[in-house]
Symmetry: C2
Amino acid sequence: MARTTGSDGEKTEAAIREAAVNLIARLGYEAMSMRQLATEVGVQAAALYRYFPTKEDLLFTLMRGHMEGLIDAWDAARPAAADPATRLAAYVENHIAFHIKRRHSTHVSNMELRSLSHDRLSQILKQRTAYEKELRTILRDGSEAGVFSVDDTGLTAMALIQMMTGVIVWFRPGERLSISEVTATYLSMTMRLVGAKAHGATTSYSAARPLGRSKEAVAL
Amino acid sequence: MARTTGSDGEKTEAAIREAAVNLIARLGYEAMSMRQLATEVGVQAAALYRYFPTKEDLLFTLMRGHMEGLIDAWDAARPAAADPATRLAAYVENHIAFHIKRRHSTHVSNMELRSLSHDRLSQILKQRTAYEKELRTILRDGSEAGVFSVDDTGLTAMALIQMMTGVIVWFRPGERLSISEVTATYLSMTMRLVGAKAHGATTSYSAARPLGRSKEAVAL
DNA sequence: ATGATAATAAAACGAACGTTCAATTAATTC
DNA sequence: GAATTAATTGAACGTTCGTTTTATTATCAT
């Protein structure tokens, strides 16, 4: 056989990307073989090379797409001109929503950086730094305006991002907590962490607690 | 050649473990070859199999040792019978100190779990859960005693652990911040996050700020 | 000194890897 | 409907992988 009936380049490429994200997230980049990926897509291994010249090209494409999606999502969610607390709340909500929705993709982008060449690693890190800088700016603005008390802007930004991104390690949709409950709790923790001074009914974050009391969290 | 002069089983095994931790942390478990490891140790690949029957056995041994070290460190640092805030402070200090000191080992234990067989994964997760349970207990005690205000004990414990462990991603010894400065800032953030009510001069964590002001944090 | 044992080297195994190439068929264009 | 282009197959390439086997030498106990 050769070309199969109904074959379509765009559909195949999309299928490869989706299967690759899932496989890499589950097995790891090094552990996933091109033949495994091809089987998942329903195609021969050689066909993959029509769309991605090398395995690393495939990985890089996935990561770049993930980072672009993250930055685009924040650009769309960012409040036009608001006080630091509102902007911080928007950042937290967007970050958690995006990372829960794109769990596998996030896993890949966070865990497989070392499989990138130097140049490509730099490109991804550049995107990541730009995204993180948005948070540092918010923290600095809030700190200078006196509505946050933050010891060290850079360190606090890193701590918050690690904390929020960590959601994907244990969160499973449809289990004990809903996305909105998780987001509310993380928002509350974030606001306390940065020492936000409440200044209105809608910003009383520390009272936004889910209904149920927890017994045990499910690890991993 | 065969046995070399001065060769010693115990020393070789220790050298293998140390080299393996560094190599796996840098390249990843799948990407590190047994021949690479052997070269690093200064030995032939076949010699590794005298000490570890398979590559996965080696990985498991490293991870189990790491988790045992973490639990032992906490057993040694745990305050005998103290109030929740003191216990929480001890937990945070121990966690950060241990993870900074054993950065590479932590990297391996956190990133390579998927390369373990089902049974061995369960063993490591069991150890991890036991360690995390200590933190949940502290949070629950503090919450019930009214000295912490925590929405969800399990979720807060996970958030704190992700935040603290994240230190190893960006912290480099000898750079802008010292270990004690980092620890002080994380302690301060932790106490605010759990809504700890200060009840004495030594527990005024939110004032424990490092001297220098940050300009930019170094990513990765 | 000698025999036992511990530690390693050297070479080889089959399997799996990423990738390439030529052939073949489906879809599209003219 | 013929020519062209797009999509895929099947087979093969050289390399590297984890691991095993066998032989050889250093060390240690007697």
